[in-house]
């Protein structure tokens, strides 16, 4: 394709370019013709009378590149802002989820978010925890009760012998 265009450019005369430029300024050129003009004008060593046209085409080309760069910067910036906004939103959601949705108490099937009430109920539940020492004390007291029973039975036996 490029080679084809190169061959075409080699066959193009300055008069052809004049004619194409005329068409271009009237807005009648096709995309192929504009491409041909652009390629021809970007060549080295073309007559100086085409300098103005060359500058015009060069200007448009430069403007096109700048706009592409601008679009890229805008796209990158919008990506960053989207990610930053998402993170900020998630942080807020996460925090509110943690502080509000995780602090509650259910009493007889009804949900309360009153922190004082929740803490009070938590402390009530904690007060029901048995310390390990309590269990040992209980078992020991049971042993003592067993000893008492044995003593009572021995006393009964002694009474019977008498």
């Amino acid at each position: 394709m490029k080679l084809k265009q190169q061959n075409r450019i080699e066959n193009v005369t300055s008069e052809d370019i004049d004619r194409l430029l005329g068409k271009y300024y009237e807005g009648l050129t096709t995309l192929e013709e504009e491409s041909l003009l652009h390629t021809w004008l970007s060549q080295m060593g073309i007559p100086s009378r085409f300098d103005a046209d060359k500058a015009l085409f060069g200007y448009f080309s430069g403007q096109k590149n700048t706009s592409v760069k601008k679009v890229n910067i805008v796209r990158i910036a919008s990506w960053f802002s989207a990610v930053a906004a998402s993170l900020a939103l998630l942080f807020v959601i996460g925090n509110s989820f943690n502080s509000n949705n995780s602090n509650y108490v259910f009493i007889q099937g009804k949900k309360y978010t009153n922190l004082t009430l929740a803490k009070e109920k938590a402390l009530t539940t904690l007060s029901l925890l048995h310390e390990p020492q309590d269990e040992v004390r209980k078992s020991t007291s049971l042993l003592n009760e067993g000893d008492k029973l044995i003593q009572e039975q021995l006393n009964l036996l002694d009474g019977a012998n008498l």
Binding site: V71, S99, S102, Q108, K121, T125, L126, L129
Partner: protein
Amino acid sequence: MNGNSINATEMNYPSTIYRLIIFMVLMGSIAQVNAQSDLHINNVFTHFEKNKNAVMVSLSNEVLDDYKFSLFKSINIKDDASAADYVREQIALDEKGAKKIKQVISNGKVTSIYLDLTPKKGMNRLILFNEQVKPERQLILIYIESEHSTDDVLKILLKKK
């Protein structure tokens, strides 16, 4: 000129879709962070929290600053023998790999157990269960996550009683 504007519009759709996908992925990951751990005792909290005989408490983070806990969950269920059996079953499933701090067995049933679970995400995890029949039948189940060692957590709890 028209061609350019069509391209710009076409570019906006995938860009919006990508942003939505990123947002949803991030939402998913945050939700996962906040999701309850994979412990079976969570079934007890979710199953009985709305029970008429139950009091279920959930507290987290700054609310627990005095205790240095990151999560505290407790449930107290009264007059429900089947609930106690269910709790015992769930605890037995979570017991694997955990260190038993205390266990009381009465009539062949675990009536009290303190479990030190393997830490997860840098948090020490503790399960406390106690069932009493007299003067009234009731059980308590407590789950705690803390940066403190379980020994320190128990000391704090028993001191606060």
